[in-house]
């Protein structure tokens, strides 16, 4: 029981004395923590940016609707006939006809160019058929085939998948996400090596202490302990500093982002790092700090022999 108590006391001592040691050299500690925090904040900030933009695509319902813009020469009547014909396709669920008049009325209502339209001699808008494929048709290739075959119809000027831009945005986001992962790995290794190097210098500065401890019978794990805790504090401190940095950045960007969102009809809310994400950030930073120290100690302690 006394032994267990002593063991806990050793841990507690190493835990707090390593923090105390860092605080006694504030300049060096701040320099290291700032460098680490910048690396972590870069990864976390990029992650948060992507998470914010992602809301753009998340809110939009995934629809495979295809719009067929008919040639100007095609009348509303022949447009309606064509719609009937397309409705018989096995892959098509439904077809809506938007006549030239309907299109004009809609445009007048939403665009605000009403007066400009009045100046035109004739309606410049084509008849549009909205084709909704059967819901079982989700494969991109088959959809593409349907669009091509519709595009080839003589009355059709051009066919377009309405949500193509969403799909493009989605693949851009997937790319950005992968970018975040890669960047995080690179910056994470930077954190690993920076803490490692800091611990190496610390070990060098305390060489005499390590040698004396070894001479009076200290095991490697006893000697390592305070250094591992130093790594922990550096990593954890940097994680907290990085979180602060990212949050301040978001506070500065909040207003312009909100304005942009409002202009697009409140398409997204400004997102900050949540509780789970913040805890994860601090945890990963602390683990990187400990691992960086551990790698260096593993190799350097064996070389540090008395005499």
């Amino acid at each position: 029981m006394d032994r267990l108590h002593a063991y806990c006391a050793i841990h507690a001592h190493a835990f707090f004395s390593s923090l105390g040691r860092l605080l006694r050299t504030p300049f060096t500690t701040v320099m290291t923590v700032v460098v680490l925090a910048l690396a972590i904040a870069l990864a976390a900030g990029f992650y948060l940016l992507v998470a914010n933009v992602q809301q753009l695509t998340a809110g939009i319902q995934n629809s495979n609707q295809i719009s067929l813009f008919l040639k100007d020469s095609v009348s509303d009547d022949s447009g309606a006939q064509l719609a009937e014909k397309i409705k018989k396709y096995p892959t098509v669920e439904q077809v809506n006809v938007i006549t030239k008049q309907q299109a004009l009325a809609e445009f007048r209502q939403y665009s605000g160019f009403g007066e400009a339209l009045d100046a035109l001699e004739k309606n410049p808008l084509p008849t549009v058929l909205q084709v909704l494929p059967v819901s079982s048709l989700t494969d991109a290739g088959q959809l593409e085939q349907l669009v091509t075959s519709l595009d080839k119809l003589s009355a059709v000027d051009f066919a377009q998948m309405d949500m193509q831009w969403v799909k493009r945005l989605q693949s851009i986001m997937a790319l950005a996400q992968r970018g975040v992962t890669l960047l995080s790995i690179i910056l994470g290794s930077a954190v690993l090596f920076i803490t490692g190097n800091t611990i190496r210098l610390e070990l060098h500065n305390r060489r005499d202490e390590v040698v004396i401890a070894k001479l009076v019978g200290a095991t490697d794990s006893f000697i390592q302990r305070p250094f591992l805790y130093t790594g922990f504090w550096l990593g954890f401190g940097s994680g907290v500093a990085a979180w602060l940095l990212v949050t301040v950045m978001m506070l500065i960007l909040h207003q312009p982002m909100q304005r942009l969102s409002d202009l697009y009809g409140g398409i997204f809310d400004v997102r900050y790092l949540g509780f789970g994400e913040t805890s994860m950030l601090w945890f990963i930073s602390a683990v990187l700090g400990v691992c960086g120290s551990w790698i260096v100690l593993k190799y350097q302690l064996q070389q540090l022999k008395p005499e």
């Binding site: 006394d2 032994r3 002593a6 070894k214 009076v216 095991t219 005499e307």
Partner: protein
């Protein structure tokens, strides 16, 4: 207690530090290790503290063959030894108390026991009242006594001292030597490396004399 059996030590550069050295120290015995500088005194002590390994022969401590000890067992072997150095090797940024307590902290001794034993060790070397001083505030003789208190606090069966009086005047040296005799009287084995022949002769204990790596007198 300590047994050297035809021990030789050759360094990587080809120099022979020890040649065919054999001797035996009984428990509770006190012995001086003498010889000119470079005769192999330090090497011999390093072999016992497993800071070096011998090239031939074997060193037995309490029946354990040090040459075959695994690296991870070395700390536990060193806990059986009290090491004392010419340059004291104290931690300058720790108090006298913390310096003396170090071996006990490392061994995982409980807090109350540490306080009790550190106080007893400091008392033995006559430094009570100076527990909270830093080594720099002490004289050379006092620093060496702190080093001795640290060496004996864990009650090791064998004390090794490498030129413990090298930096001290004759009066202080004699004082330190009497401390070692006091430890011997309670059953501790003591091996002291020194080239202070006059002091050795005055003390009249067993002498192991090295000359160019060979044991010429035991």
């Amino acid at each position: 207690m300590l047994n050297f059996d035809h021990v030789s030590k050759r360094y990587a550069d080809g120099g022979d530090a020890l040649l065919d050295v054999s001797f035996h120290l009984r428990p509770g015995e006190i012995a001086f290790l003498t010889g000119h500088s470079g005769a192999g005194k330090s090497t011999l002590l390093k072999l016992i503290a497993v800071m070096e390994r011998c090239s031939r022969g074997q060193v037995l401590l309490d029946g354990q063959n040090l040459n075959k000890a695994k690296d991870r067992h070395i700390p536990y072997i060193r806990r059986k030894l009290g090491l004392i150095f010419q340059d004291y090797k104290l931690l300058q940024d720790r108090t006298v108390f913390d310096n003396v307590a170090l071996p006990l902290v490392i061994a995982g001794v409980g807090h109350q026991e540490i306080c009790r034993r550190v106080r007893a060790a400091i008392d033995k070397v006559d430094l009570l009242g100076k527990e909270n001083k830093y080594p720099q505030a002490l004289s050379g003789g006092e620093q060496q006594r702190v080093g001795i208190a640290r060496a004996v606090v864990n009650r090791p069966p064998l004390i090794l001292a490498d030129e413990p009086t090298g930096n001290l005047d004759p009066e202080l040296s004699a004082e330190i030597m009497h401390l070692f005799e006091a430890f011997q009287q309670v059953g501790v084995t003591v091996l002291i490396a020194t080239h202070d022949i006059a002091l050795v002769e005055r003390m009249g204990h067993r002498v192991l004399k090295l000359d160019h790596g060979r044991l010429v007198e035991s």
